[in-house]
């Protein structure tokens, strides 16, 4: 199958990116924050395969470590939003009635506001570090998850096996986890994949605007942000490589999600 090969290609690409960032320490050629004022703005080449930045730090090394930060924030926040989304959606979908109506109204209101605005507002209140960012993206990224969980629950709670379970006196938490959530895994997985791409995107956007990860910690977004100052000087390598990695990461996650959606739903 042709599409299967493409799928494997994107999975492998994403896997590779995750792998080299997770094991950044093994691959990196310099200490991540080592500054060398004698070697600022070195073009890719000798000793620094992707060049150095305005403080003489090795771009390749920072790229790997930056990926670790960006991906940690993305994975962490997606996990958080998954938990919140599942809880919110579960209550709304399982309880139903006016509780559901009220919760869905609220959710619609929240969805209608672009999540970037939420994140900005949060960020203004709590200037956080890496975990702060993770928290912020997490608590603002669960809306779609909640919606999916709710609609799945509404569909599934009328299923005969759920009725049977109620008659057998199975406890509610077991009905929710064993019957309802177990059977919502596929759509949940797909939406989570897309959330992951979204989280990478938000981290990068915020850091690019200079309001994300603190500048002392490298992240892909931070690197792009700093690269703004360097473009004028013609130091294209500082912005290009993080840009490419972000591009391929988001692209591969999106393709993986898209293909999962098509094949499993």
């Amino acid at each position: 199958m042709k599409s299967n090969k493409i799928f494997i290609f994107w999975c492998a690409l994403f896997g590779l990116i995750v792998l080299i960032t997770v094991f950044a320490n093994l691959f990196s050629t310099y200490p991540v924050n080592e500054m060398n004022m004698d070697k600022v703005y070195m073009a890719p080449g000798d000793g620094h395969i992707l060049g150095t930045d305005h403080l003489g730090r090795d771009v390749f090394t920072r790229l790997l470590h930056g990926g670790k930060v960006t991906l940690t924030v993305a994975f962490g926040s997606v996990l958080l939003s998954l938990v919140i989304g599942v809880m919110y959606g579960s209550v709304s979908g399982y309880v139903g009635g006016w509780v559901d109506s009220a919760m869905m109204r609220l959710l619609e209101a929240l969805i209608s506001i672009p999540s970037l605005i939420f994140v900005l507002a949060f960020q203004a209140v709590m200037q956080g570090g890496m975990w702060g960012m993770t928290f912020i993206i997490g608590v603002t990224g669960w809306f779609t998850t909640a919606r999916i969980v709710r609609s799945e629950f509404i569909r599934l709670k009328e299923a005969d096996y759920v009725k049977m379970a109620r008659m057998f006196g199975t406890p509610i938490w077991r009905i929710i986890t064993g019957h309802l959530l177990r059977n919502s895994v596929t759509p949940l997985f797909v939406v989570t994949i897309f959330n992951l791409a979204g989280a990478v995107f938000i981290e990068v956007s915020l850091s690019f605007l200079g309001i994300g990860i603190p500048p002392s910690i490298p992240s892909w977004g931070n690197m792009l942000y700093n690269a703004q100052n360097d473009l004028l000087i013609g130091a294209w390598w500082i912005g290009l490589f993080p840009g490419l990695l972000i591009f391929f990461t988001v692209l591969s996650i999106n393709f993986i999600g898209e293909m999962l959606k098509d094949s499993r739903l």
Partner: protein, 523 residues
């Protein structure tokens, strides 16, 4: 939604790739216009010169005295003055041919009004500490007045460069809320034209100016907080003058239509120790962190050579003392000092005292790339002496300097030695209890005393002696870890003539000091 993300990222990427080779825009402004567009780093809240210092002051206002090319105060609106033998009473004679922009004559009453307004606590003027030695003011006639001091205070002539406010503009008006503040009236070479908040401020030449009639008809201050945008607009000709970041200079030098002025300043950068923080109570800790800065590398790497290593606030002044401790880079000394202060290195490479890790945060304004870079460089360097230092680059609006652990401060003045020393290091000037600039609540009795001596003695040699010792005392008990003096590098359109260099102040302010002498040689 997803597609859009991909598109946005693709565009971002494209920008990243293209931006390096993309700035080829031709001069877009109307070259025939006899106007000057200045890329202003920041906008101002108001234009009242006794409430806020702006780079527009030099154009709109004039004072009794004015700093010349050598930063010495010379008579301007004051025609002449006499000093009594006890050095306590000054009599000023004003020129009688000066009018404000609104046509009303400038008289002794306006001068008296200005000083009284500065001293009036209701106005909370940032200049008050400059005039606290003034005892009484007496009008003799319309163009003469007498100023009495409590104690002899030679810097008073420097202080009298303060812009003169028109008394008639404040009748029944509160200084803080007066309409004057957004529509100022001065006696300077340019008068207020139009102010589009958030965009630009236009000043027009004042044709009844008593001095040299300006050649350039309009000066426009365009507010561009982002230094890259300033540089790009300078390169494209959308603005005529801009202050450049050091790393932009090389690229701007390649532009044929630009002239680069690398101007010496009294503008230093340093790390302010906020004495509110327990950590800095021990002077040895502050000394250690002063030793652990590789200033040569900062000047080389971050300032690209446009600056020099700093060790004293008066380094560029005639009273500079170069035999004080200059804290040249010495990790060993720093480590010894920390050991002595009880901060001991643990297995993890960091120092601890009473189970507390040696760590703090340096705050820097995010819009100032040089300060952020310095903060990052310092933080990284401090690792080697076992300190965990974070950097918080925040928007100015989110910064309260007296709440930080340490702050990348920028200060300096090319004028009288009292300027930007008393208000920074005297304990009575703490920003917590006064309108002074002592943000770190620094207090040292000896420094206080020397600063007072310096400001009150009238004999130049005596003053010099005081300030020499002051620098020594400050170096022994540092309030800042001085890092570097930064040159003001201005990019300016090559067809502008008349720029006169002089040692500039904070953020290169004062570059426009003689703008009425500037002219376009092609317009």
């Amino acid at each position: 939604m997803r597609k859009r993300q991909v598109v946005i990222i693709a565009v971002l990427l494209l920008l990243v790739v293209l931006a390096g080779c993309g700035q080829k825009k031709e001069n877009s402004t109307d070259a025939s216009k006899n106007q000057l567009i200045y890329a202003s780093e920041s906008e101002f809240d108001g234009l009242n010169p006794i409430l806020e210092e702006t780079n527009v002051d030099a154009l709109l206002f004039r004072g009794l005295f004015r700093f010349n090319e050598d930063n010495e105060a010379t008579t301007d609106i004051a025609q002449s003055y006499d000093m009594s033998d006890d050095k306590l009473t000054y009599t000023f004679k004003l020129r009688d041919d000066i009018t404000f922009h609104d046509g009303k004559p400038l008289t002794a009453e306006d001068a008296i009004f200005t000083i009284e307004s500065i001293l009036d606590d209701n106005n909370a003027s940032y200049l008050k500490s400059d005039f606290t030695e003034v005892d009484a003011l007496k009008k003799i006639d319309d163009y003469q007045f007498e100023l009495k001091l409590k104690r002899p205070f030679t810097p008073i002539l420097d202080k009298l460069t303060v812009p003169i406010l028109p008394k008639h503009a404040f009748i029944e008006e509160d200084m803080r809320t007066a309409s004057f503040n957004s529509h100022p009236i001065g006696a300077g070479p340019y008068q207020f034209g139009e102010w589009n908040r958030g965009t630009n401020l236009t000043l027009k030449a004042f044709d009844q100016f008593y001095g040299l009639q300006p050649s350039i008809g309009q000066v426009i201050f365009k507010f561009i907080p982002d230094s890259n945008v300033r540089a790009i607009q300078l390169a494209s000709g959308e603005v005529d003058i801009a202050l450049l970041d050091p790393n932009q200079v090389a690229e701007m030098e390649k532009k044929d239509h630009l002239k680069i002025y690398d101007i010496d300043t009294a503008d230093y950068r340093g790390m302010l120790f906020n004495m509110q923080n327990e950590l800095w109570q021990d002077v040895r800790v502050r000394q250690a962190f002063s030793f652990a800065i590789d200033r040569a590398q900062v000047v080389k790497g971050i300032l690209k050579g446009y600056g020099e290593e700093a060790y004293s606030p008066l380094q560029k002044h005639a009273f500079h003392n170069d035999s004080i401790e200059n804290y040249s880079y010495d990790i060993e000394k720093a480590e010894k000092l920390l050991d002595a202060a009880g901060w001991l290195k643990a297995e993890d490479g960091f120092r601890y005292k009473d189970d507390q890790k040696l760590s703090f945060t340096i705050t820097a304004p995010a819009s100032d790339a040089v300060r952020v870079n310095m903060a990052n460089y310092l933080a990284e360097g401090y690792k080697s002496i076992g300190a965990q230092v974070e950097v918080a680059a925040l928007d100015w609006s989110a910064i309260t300097i007296d709440d930080t652990d340490a702050f990348m401060i920028g200060w300096g003045s090319p004028y009288d030695a009292d300027h930007h020393t008393y208000s920074l290091f005297h304990s009575s000037e703490s920003s917590l209890t006064s309108s002074g600039y002592n943000y770190g609540s620094y207090a040292n009795a000896k420094v206080d005393e020397l600063l007072e001596q310096g400001r009150l003695s009238t004999d130049v040699e005596e003053r010099k002696a005081s300030y020499l010792v002051f620098q020594e005392a400050l170096a022994e008990d540092p309030a800042f870890a001085f890092v570097a003096y930064v040159d003001a590098v201005y990019g300016i359109h090559g067809n502008i003539e008349g720029v006169k260099e002089r040692t500039l102040g904070h953020h290169g302010s004062g570059f426009l000091w003689n703008v009425e002498e500037w002219k376009w040689n092609d317009r």
